[in-house]
């Protein structure tokens, strides 16, 4: 047998190592559609429990919206289940082109190409845009999919301190000899919910003749007054050369992603991006539903407005309750606890109270910065948010952290 005891023993010890390090990820089984209210089986075999979900990327509450589900049904009926092909053989339907055009219009770019996921978009785009005489200059906190995409690219890699414009400028000066430079950042950073300084980045890009790529996965659909994304929020629509984003969060939540930007770059992705060329086409059912999502959010800003109000309300009430939260305006709200065990214990107790949130600690976030990450949704009603705040307050009181500052929490629980 080729799968030897040696191999089995090795993989098993790796798993035990993950468990020993406290970073083993246990999946919870959800027995309902994605929504503010979900039914969860956790731990495995436990009776189903109704909880309020505060950890989904379902920012606009569209994941199970009746109009989106109906559009998916229609897509399934009219265009079938699968295409059994990559895009360039016989996998491009009229609705694929239609969705790409809608995304181009919505994001305010020149052209768009769909990918099976934003992970695939990020895995493919760098190798297409840059070669060994070029430079990639990335924020140090960019998403893992960007890090992987950059590793697949021959261009020289540089990175700058998170959102530090002086350091970015240093790197731009250092790379003046390169043919092309690409500044790479997330629009919104997923662990802190902080927003890239795209206006300043655009000015630096102009000054030093560099291009810009933004992964706007945690922004597309709701950041900016009409939800176009971080580039709208920062007033730089038309100045970002490449946007990568996902259909798996605010824009319906199923899967799929895209590269949207300068038309030559998009066309080259169509010709050369390996995850695009060698993956099946995005299924018609997802394309039809995502297309409906773009229609909904193009016609009204009601859902992003509600998300904004929910976010302001939650942030204000949690601050007033005495929690140490990272300031900001994004629906990602980090409740800072600093100590990893405290974050895990509180998340477990909150689950007991019917609030589903997750504690994050090193290596997902820097050492000593453990937190519970709360994510608001337009699918949350005020009563949901009030229940979450009440539960947080009860559990926060149990651990005596209400009104405590960073150094006081660290003094009580250590780092």
């Amino acid at each position: 047998m080729a799968y030897s005891d040696k191999a089995r023993g090795y993989y098993d010890s790796e798993i035990k190592g993950i468990q020993g390090a406290g970073t083993f990820k246990e999946e919870r089984f959800i027995a309902s559609p994605q929504a503010a209210n979900i039914t969860v089986e956790f731990p495995a075999g436990a009776p189903h429990k109704e909880v309020l979900n505060f950890c989904a990327n379902n920012y606009l509450g569209l994941s199970s919206h009746p109009d989106v589900v109906a559009a998916a049904h229609e897509g399934l009926k009219e265009r079938g289940y699968g295409m059994s092909s990559v895009r360039f053989i016989c996998g491009t339907q009229d609705i694929h082109k239609e969705l790409e055009q809608k995304l181009t219009g919505f994001l305010g770019t020149e052209d768009t190409i769909l990918f099976p996921s934003c992970m695939d978009a990020n895995a493919g785009v760098f190798d297409v845009v840059l070669d060994k005489e070029d430079a990639m200059i990335a924020d140090r906190l960019v998403h893992a999919s960007i890090v992987d995409g950059m590793r697949l690219c021959k261009a020289q890699l540089f990175n700058y301190k998170h959102s530090n414009m002086e350091h970015l400028e240093e790197k731009l000066k250092e790379t003046q000899d390169c043919r092309f430079r690409l500044i790479i950042t997330d629009g919104v950073f997923s662990m802190d919910g902080d927003i890239a300084k795209l206006d300043e980045i655009c000015d630096l890009a102009d000054k030093y003749d560099a291009m810009i790529l933004v992964d706007d996965s945690h922004a597309s659909g709701f950041m900016g007054k009409t939800g176009r994304g971080t580039h709208e929020h920062c007033g730089v629509i038309g100045r970002i050369d490449v946007i990568t984003t996902t259909l798996g969060k605010a824009l319906g939540g199923a899967s799929g992603g895209c590269v949207s930007g300068r038309k030559e770059i998009v066309e080259l992705c169509r010709q050369r991006a390996r995850p695009y060329l060698f993956s099946n086409t995005v299924p018609p059912v997802i394309v039809a539903a995502a297309s409906k999502v773009i229609d909904i959010i193009s016609n009204t800003t009601d859902r992003r407005d509600k998300l904004e109000q929910n976010t302001i309300y939650f942030r204000e009430k949690m601050t007033a309750a005495g929690f140490d939260i990272r300031e900001g305006i994004h629906p990602i709200v980090p409740i800072m606890l600093y100590n990893a065990k405290l974050a895990q214990d509180m998340a477990r107790d909150l689950y007991g109270e019917g609030i589903y949130v997750i504690g994050f600690s090193f290596p997902v976030v820097p050492k000593g910065q453990a937190r519970i990450r709360v994510q608001l949704s337009a699918g949350h009603e005020k009563e949901h948010i009030d229940r979450a705040i009440a539960a947080f307050t009860k559990i926060g009181d149990k651990y005596k952290i209400l009104g405590k500052k960073k150094n006081e929490i660290i003094e009580m629980y250590g780092l």
Binding site: R140, Q156, L157, F158, N159, K161, F362, K367
Partner: protein, 84 residues
């Protein structure tokens, strides 16, 4: 020369990786990667700095997180390239 070299590397690490108001102190044995000061992604800056500064080429199999985990480890790595 050895002390001078250490100082140069420590100065670079502070400038490249720490914020101005950061409380962390860096000395020759401070764990850099396992201590969370430098992550595997941002390690590339340090590698590029050493290569440019000393006109060497550190192959990928030598540029491991362990080799870069402290200034002392980096000094040992540099010895292999006759930089002392």
């Amino acid at each position: 020369m050895n002390e001078e070299l250490k100082k140069t590397i420590i100065e670079y690490i502070k400038r490249e990786y720490l914020e101005e108001d950061a409380p962390e102190e860096v000395n020759e044995s401070t764990p850099l990667i396992s201590g969370g000061i430098v992550d595997s992604f941002s390690m590339v800056s340090l590698k590029t700095f050493l290569e440019k500064k000393f006109s060497i080429k550190i192959p990928d199999d030598k540029a491991t997180p362990e080799a870069f985990d402290s200034v002392n480890n980096i000094m040992n790595l540099l010895k292999e390239f006759n930089v002392t």
